[in-house]
Symmetry: C2
Subunit: 200 residues, 2 copies
């Protein structure tokens, strides 16, 4: 079973081999790996180097905090994400430290950091499933997220399960081929919708 | 001269060696590299696999389209970005194809794809300087970006210049050490502001 991207142009293994599993192996994530995941995020780019990212993290051996983070996911995500080895809530600083004005790229920059963290994870054999389906108000209440910050996504982190061990529904999802729109419908030159020569 | 991240925990070279130059070498970006940069972005994660990213691209040899993209940057960015070998405008699809509802993570997912593209670039010796300072209305008018889509950032892509060849101001910026907040102020467990054990 490989979920490797069926790429049209060569890309790095750490990019081709990234995918978002629903099934997780019970193995814990080594602490040294988790440190490097956050360190990778730390060195991401951000507008004015504001680094608008903050994280709430719990590993599965820390039952109290893991349960609290799990309770901040929508029900559909709690079902599978409870088997992850670590959960992370990403939180954005909504205003510039620089001048207090709204940071229009805060969410964008949370994405930059999340992808960087995920690339580091893939290089260590770890998988990251990002979720938009979270309960930001629940997270604010449980963890005391202050005004000016807001939970954006959650990350389930762990080793992907052997799909033969999964219930039917998860096995089907975790073994289905990955699909993407062709680049000719994505990369334009000169005018909207006009495929760039380089992707024709 | 190295702008390599002064990391506290080991991270991939393609992450440690990424930075955002202001000075570019006149060498063009090979077309094969550009293809792989967009291919990398293509395989990013996104909410509901919506792939909300679109791109307008021009290489410096395509004077008409390069000038048009350059004119969509704020003046301060036009000054240095005119020397990049390629310019890209990232554009977000603001609503789900799925149901027409607003996609709350569109900007976030543009960030995921931008970081993935940038990682692929770093692996090829190319640098990407992302800019929030753009003129989205100018881009809409010049390139016919339709309702439901919006320009988010621009990317200057090329080979970093030898800083000794740069004017004083750019040389200082491009040789200054990179700075980041410590992880203990970023990664929390249990409550906001409480540093996670793993980053203490």
């Amino acid at each position: 079973m490989s979920k490797r991207a069926n790429f049209a142009h060569p890309i790095l293994d750490v990019i081709a081999d990234r995918w978002s599993p629903y099934g997780y192996d019970p193995r814990p994530v080594p602490t040294t790996d988790l440190k490097s995941l956050f360190e990778a995020a730390r060195w991401s780019a951000s507008a004015f180097n504001e680094q608008p990212w903050r994280y709430l993290v719990a590993t599965c051996d820390d039952e109290k905090n893991f349960s609290a983070l799990l309770s901040c996911l929508v029900d559909a995500n709690q079902g599978w994400a409870q088997h992850a080895s670590a959960l992370v809530m990403t939180v954005a600083s909504l205003n510039y430290d620089l001048n207090g004005e709204p940071n229009g790229t805060a969410l964008h920059d949370i994405g930059l950091a999340a992808a960087t963290l995920t690339t580091e994870a893939t290089s260590r054999g770890l998988m990251v499933h990002q979720m938009a389906g979270i309960l930001p108000d629940q997270a604010r209440e449980l963890f005391g997220i202050p005004v000016g910050f807001e939970a954006v996504t959650a990350l389930a982190i762990g080793f992907a399960a052997d799909p033969t061990t999964l219930p039917d529904e998860l096995r089907e999802t975790d073994t289905a081929p990955r699909q993407r729109r062709p680049l000719a419908e994505t990369v334009f030159t000169g005018a909207w919708g006009q495929a760039a020569d380089l992707v024709r």
